[in-house]
């Protein structure tokens, strides 16, 4: 065979392979095998934080499905440096991947870089580091998505019209301010022309202050139809106030909170729906992403798609960010399925 011939047959093989793979069910990454005998270390922000326990539990579940040995270790306090010994230990133990919810965006980077230089896959979840410290970051929810869906939820409950207020954390809380910005963006849409944001109150993420701020809002704005509280402290305090006041059932309340905190208020009708991402899914997705990378099935580049078990497929976005998806909406029908 001369060289053009080889070229020709190569092209033919490629074409045939392509044709074959495009037949049948659309397969992204599912068929690519996960390596055997992988060992992962999951490092939560701190070990006895209930939220983190659920998140790590999700990662452990995913590892079980994939036949990966996964251990959860971490500090009991959340200082910037507290996770470093655990990263170093994972390096010393030659783990294949580190799944970490970073306590500090910068302090861990040199140590995570060292891990990556020794072929350890680093996936951040919940809280990111600077992009050079990891391959991909599992983002629980986009700020835009949260802002939009909170407005949509409230609009549904108050029939797209009336005054409403926001009960936030502190005036300079980064997360809350970003979400509020996106809520205001969403409100510009014509659907919400009859809805008016009358006040943003700040409960400083303190239970007592959030409680009195709620009281103040309801007294100052007698026509108030609803409150959005994008913080778990705020929504719980507001729910407590409303549930024992004459406003119960008249003022809609929604926001971000955990099912265990708000279960009684959903059951007594103070809250119809609230939202939060499922922390277990964050851990689950992180473990799948790490498994795919550690098995050489993907590199974590923008646009790559991978299979994530029960969650279906996910695509790596800009800067290696993988989005979990829209937050979970909790209501009377499903709240008992969640325990966190």
């Amino acid at each position: 065979m001369n060289i053009p011939m080889i070229k020709y047959s190569l092209i033919r093989i490629v074409v045939i392979v392509c044709a074959l793979t495009s037949v049948g069910p659309v397969s992204y990454g599912q068929d690519k095998p996960i390596k055997k005998d992988l060992k992962f270390t999951a490092i939560p922000k701190n070990v006895n934080n209930p939220y983190m326990v659920i998140q790590s539990g999700g990662a452990v579940d995913a590892c079980k499905e994939l036949g990966i040995e996964c251990k959860v270790v971490g500090p009991s306090e959340t200082g910037a440096s507290a996770q470093v010994p655990y990263i170093n230990t994972a390096i010393t133990q030659h783990q294949n991947a580190i799944l970490i919810a970073a306590n500090d965006p910068n302090a861990l980077v040199p140590y995570l870089k060292k891990a990556m230089s020794q072929k350890i896959t680093v996936v951040t979840l919940d809280s990111d580091t600077a992009p050079e410290g990891r391959t991909v970051f599992i983002n629980q929810a986009s700020a835009e998505g949260i802002g939009q869906s909170l407005v949509q939820t409230l609009a549904k409950e108050i029939g797209n019209s009336g005054d409403f207020a926001i009960l936030s954390a502190t005036p300079n809380a980064t997360n809350q301010n970003t979400w509020i910005k996106y809520m205001q963006e969403e409100l510009k849409k014509p659907d919400y022309k009859d809805m008016k944001l009358v006040k943003i109150a700040y409960g400083n993420d303190e239970d007592q202050k959030s409680f009195t701020e709620t009281q103040g809002l309801l007294q100052a704005y007698p026509n108030l139809k609803g409150i959005i509280s994008p913080t778990s402290v705020g929504i719980a305090a507001a729910a407590r106030y409303i549930s024992t006041s004459p406003y119960k059932g008249k003022v809609a309340l929604t926001g971000l909170g955990t099912p265990n905190q708000l279960r009684e208020f959903v059951k007594d009708g103070t809250i119809k729906e609230f939202e939060l991402w499922n922390p277990a899914d964050v851990g689950y997705l992180a473990a799948y992403a790490a498994a795919q990378i550690a098995s050489g099935n993907m590199q974590g580049k923008e646009g790559e798609t991978f299979a994530a078990g029960k969650l279906g497929n996910r695509t790596v976005g800009k800067d290696g960010v993988v989005l979990l998806g829209p937050p979970t909406v909790f209501n009377a029908d499903n709240i008992d399925k969640f325990n966190f």
Partner: protein, 311 residues
């Protein structure tokens, strides 16, 4: 567990030593302070203040050596404040330094707020993360080796060292034998401030991160190391070697248990128990000795009594 194959790797020892370098630095002047039967609880807050100050100065584009110098000077001033309150007003150091523990941490938050500064120049962060060429010894650890040697000489081979023991043993006796106790304590608290500030600088470069909450809670680890090292709470007793060995012991225990994936709560229980035993054991031995001496004396007295009775 010591036979864990990963334990004896060079890399692991490098991590092991690097892990406690800040606490080790702060424990040195602290041992001397405890020997004079005082205490400094503000060391970790001083670390935080120095770290955030360094970050702020760097953000304001101040040359790094100058920034480091300013941090050390601020450390000296803060130490002098502790010393002044304790010496001049004869206040108990426990109360004063609980106050400055809160005060210095508060300053740290004023300096940097809830921000973090991270873009430190690589030649400095390389120092923080790197090792001494051709060895596994982390570069910042060299500072500790040098300072430990200085403190060893100071405590065991100079008049200052003898004054420290004398002050801790019996303050009145020390004063009458010509020890300037006020000046001595002042110097020790200033040294503690400067070295805690140095620990803050090391911390900043080791993690390339300047934050107001850096090193929160480290004072307890440093104090634990001092007590475990055989420095007595009542003062007057203790050696630099003891403290260095206890630092190593705590470092090794933490490292081995972490390598064996022991949960961090258990780790705390182990260090806590160790500390209690280290304080309890010498006390038990001392009281047993005392009782033995008493019994012996009674026997002798009884013997004497029976002798005189027969006469």
């Amino acid at each position: 567990m010591l036979l864990n194959k990963d334990f004896l790797t060079v890399e692991n020892w490098s991590n092991l030593l690097a892990n406690f370098v800040e606490i080790a630095l702060m424990a040195l002047p602290l041992s001397l302070i405890v020997i004079t039967s005082e205490i400094d609880l503000s060391v970790a807050s001083m670390l935080g203040l120095s770290s955030s100050l360094l970050g702020l100065l760097w953000e304001y584009k101040l040359a790094m050596p100058l920034g480091i110098l300013i941090c050390l000077v601020v450390g000296a001033l803060c130490g002098a404040l502790n010393g002044f309150l304790i010496v001049r007003f004869r206040l108990p150091s426990l109360a004063v330094t609980i106050g400055t523990l809160a005060l210095f941490r508060g300053f740290a938050y004023i300096v940097l707020g809830d921000k973090a500064v991270a873009d430190f120049p690589t030649e400095y962060t390389d120092f923080g993360i790197g090792t001494v060429p051709y060895t596994f010894i982390p570069s910042p650890f060299v500072l500790f080796i040098v300072l430990a040697a200085i403190f060893w000489v100071l405590l065991h081979h100079t008049t200052i060292g003898r004054s420290i023991y004398a002050t801790g043993g019996n303050q009145t006796a020390a004063r009458f034998s010509g020890v300037n106790i006020s000046r001595l304590k002042m110097l020790l608290f200033i040294a503690s401030g400067v070295i805690s500030a140095l620990a803050g600088i090391v911390f900043t470069f080791r993690f390339s991160s300047s934050r107001a909450d850096n090193g929160t809670g480290f004072e307890l680890s440093a104090i634990a190391a001092v007590f475990l090292g055989g420095v007595t709470v009542q003062g007057g007793k203790g050696t630099v070697t003891g403290v260095v060995l206890s630092l190593l012991l705590i470092g090794i225990i933490n490292n081995v248990l972490t390598l064996a994936d022991v949960a961090s709560e258990i780790l705390r229980i182990v260090t806590g128990t160790l500390l209690i035993i280290s304080i309890l054991l010498p006390n038990l031995i001392a009281s047993a000795q005392e009782r033995l001496r008493l019994i012996q004396r009674q026997r002798e007295l009884a013997k004497l009594g029976s002798l005189s009775a027969t006469k």
